[in-house]
Symmetry: none
Subunit: 186 residues, 4 copies
C-alpha cells in the first residue's frame, strides 16, 4: 500500500480527530476495552500516527482526566456573587451540572471511567462539605456532602447526560431535596 503523506492531510486535524475518537471510545467502552487500534481505526489512520501526536495510551488518558479535573476544580476557584452560602452553593452546583452537560464525553471519562475518579469525587465532597458547613439545619456536613456527591454523580449520569433534565432543573432538584427545610427558613 501507499506510504507517506495522505492527500489533503493535515496534522492538527488528525490530532483532533484522534482526540475526539479517543474520548468517544473511552467514554463508551472504558480504558481497557479501548485499544489504540480502535482509536486509529475510527480516525481512519494507523497506529504509528497515534504516536506522532500522543506519547502513549496512558498519557492520553491521563491528560484527558487532568483536563477534566482542572476544569471541574476551576469552578470552585471562581468567586460567586453574594455570600449566602446556600445560594453560592446553588450557583456552584449549576456550574458543575452545566460543565458536565457541555462536556458529556469528557465527563464520562473523567468522572465515570478514570481510575482516579475516586480522588476527584473525594475532593468534590470536601469542597461541598466546606460549602455547606454552617448552613442552618445541616448537622452532619461530611455525610451530607457525600450524599450530595452521590446525588450529583447519579443525576448527571441518568438525567443530565441523557438530556432528560437541564442543568438548572437538576440543580433545583438537588437543592430542594437537600435544602428544602433550610430554604423555608430563609
Amino acid at each position: 500500500m501507499a506510504r507517506g503523506r495522505k492527500v489533503n492531510s493535515n496534522g492538527e486535524r488528525s490530532k483532533q480527530l484522534l482526540l475526539e475518537k479517543a474520548i468517544e471510545l473511552f467514554a463508551q467502552n472504558g480504558y481497557h476495552q479501548t485499544k489504540i487500534s480502535d482509536i486509529v481505526k475510527a480516525a481512519n489512520l494507523t497506529q504509528p500516527t497515534f504516536y506522532l501526536y500522543f506519547e502513549s495510551k496512558d498519557s492520553l488518558f491521563n491528560s484527558l482526566n487532568a483536563e477534566f479535573n482542572e476544569k471541574l476544580m476551576s469552578i470552585f476557584d471562581t468567586e460567586v456573587e453574594g455570600n449566602l452560602s446556600l445560594s453560592a452553593l446553588q450557583q456552584k452546583l449549576e456550574s458543575v451540572f452545566t460543565f458536565f452537560a457541555q462536556n458529556p464525553l469528557l465527563t464520562k471519562v473523567g468522572f465515570f471511567e478514570a481510575m482516579d475518579a475516586a480522588v476527584v469525587k473525594a475532593e468534590l465532597a470536601e469542597l461541598l462539605k466546606q460549602g455547606i458547613t454552617g448552613v442552618h439545619g445541616v448537622e452532619q456536613p461530611k455525610l451530607i456532602a457525600e450524599a450530595l456527591v452521590g446525588t450529583v454523580e447519579r443525576l448527571t449520569l441518568t438525567c443530565v447526560l441523557t438530556g432528560e433534565y437541564t442543568p438548572q432543573q437538576a440543580t433545583e432538584a438537588v437543592m430542594s431535596i437537600f435544602f428544602a427545610s433550610a430554604k423555608e427558613l430563609v
Copy 2:
C-alpha cells in the same frame, strides 16, 4: 516435578478458596487488574486448578455479580410489615445497607466494579421509584429515585463500607435528607 493431588487437598475447599481470593482481588483491584495468576497465587494453587472449578475468568466474575444482584433484589421481594410506604422504604433501605455492610467485598465487586453495575443500579432506581411514588410531597419520583440511588451508592462506599457509619445511621441520614418534610407530616 511432583504432580497430582496435594495431601490434604479437597475439591470443595479449593473452590471456596479460589472464590474468596477472587472476590478479594476483584474488590481491591478491579476486573482487569486482577489476573488469574494473581488469584491462584493467593490461593496457593495453580492455573489449571482454576479451570477445574470455573469456566473462565469472565464466568467467575459474572457469577459473582449474579450472586450480588440476586441477593440485592431478594431484599425487595420480601414483604415488610406495615404498608405505610415510607416506613416500608426505610426498612428496605436498612436492609440494603445491612446487606452491603455484611458483604463488603461482594458489594465492592457487584456494585462498584462490575461492568453491568449500571443495570443493577437502574433496577434499584426503578424499585425505589415504585416505593416512593405516592409518598406525600414527592413530585418527581424518577428523579428522586435516582438521587436516592446515588446517595446510597456514595454513602455505602464512603461511610458504610469504611465502618464509619452503621447501616442504621446511614438509613436515618438518607431518610432525613429525602423525607424530612414528609415525616413531619406523618
Copy 3:
C-alpha cells in the same frame, strides 16, 4: 493448533534449550540481530514460553554477561603458587585463555558482543597492570597492560576460539612477546 503441554515436555530442558540457543545466537549475531522469535524458533518453542523462564530479552543477555564477568574475575581472585609475579601472571593468563577456550560462546557474548564489554576489559587491564608492575624491565605498565589486553582479546578471537592454538600455546606466545627479555634475565 494444539495448546498446552507438549508430550514428553520438561521444563528444565526447555529452559536449558532456550539458554543454549540464546547464547549461540547472541554469539553469532549479536544482541540486536537476535530476536526472541529467533531464539524460540531455534528451540522449537513459542514466545510465551521464553517468558516462562526468563524475565526479558535484556535480563537474559545481562545475566549471561554477568556470568561471564564473574567467572572471568574469579580467576584473579584465586591465589597462585609462587610469588614471582611473572610466573603468576603466566598462570593467570593461561587460566584466562583456558576459560575462554572452554566457554567459547559465553566468551563471544561477554567479551565481544556485550555493551559493557569495555568495562570488563578495563577491569582486566587494571588487574594486569597490577600484575606486571614491578616486573623487571617494564617501564610503562599501563600501556603494556592495555597492549596485553588487546593481544589477549585478538588472540582469543582469531587463534584460541578457532581451535588453532591451545590456551597453553597462546599463553606462551603472549609471554614470549611481552616478557622475553625479562625472562632471559631470570
Copy 4:
C-alpha cells in the same frame, strides 16, 4: 506549516552536516542506538532530507566504513623509503596510528562499531604478517601479526583516541614490545 526550502539552505552543506552528525552519533552510540531521527535532529533537519542525500541508514553507515577501510588500506599501498622491513613496519604503524588519531570518529565507527570491522582487522593482520615475515627472530608470524592487531586496536582505543599518547609514542611502545630483541640485533 511552512514548508519548502529553508532560507540560507544549501544542499552540499546539509549533506555535510548530516554526515558529520551521523559519524558523531555512530561513533558515540553505535549503529543500533543511533536513529535517523537522532541524526536529523542533531543536524536541525528533517527525516525526508536525510533521504535526499543518502539511500538509507545502512548505506550511509556502509559508506562511512568503506571510506575508513580505503583510507586505512591506502596506507599500505604507498611505498616507503628503505626496505629494511622493520623500519618499514614502524613507518606503517605510525601512519596507521596517525590516521586513527586524525580521524577519531571515523575510526571509532569503522574500527570499533562496524559489523565488518572484523574483515578490516583480518586484512590488517594479513598485511602485518607479510610485513614481519622474514624479520629476524619472528617465528610465528601469523600469531605475532594478530597480537599486533590486537595491540594496535586496544592502544588506539585507550591511549591514542583519548589523547594520552601520541601516534609516535604508541608506535614506539608497540615496536619495543614486539621487536625489542630484533632491534638489538640490528
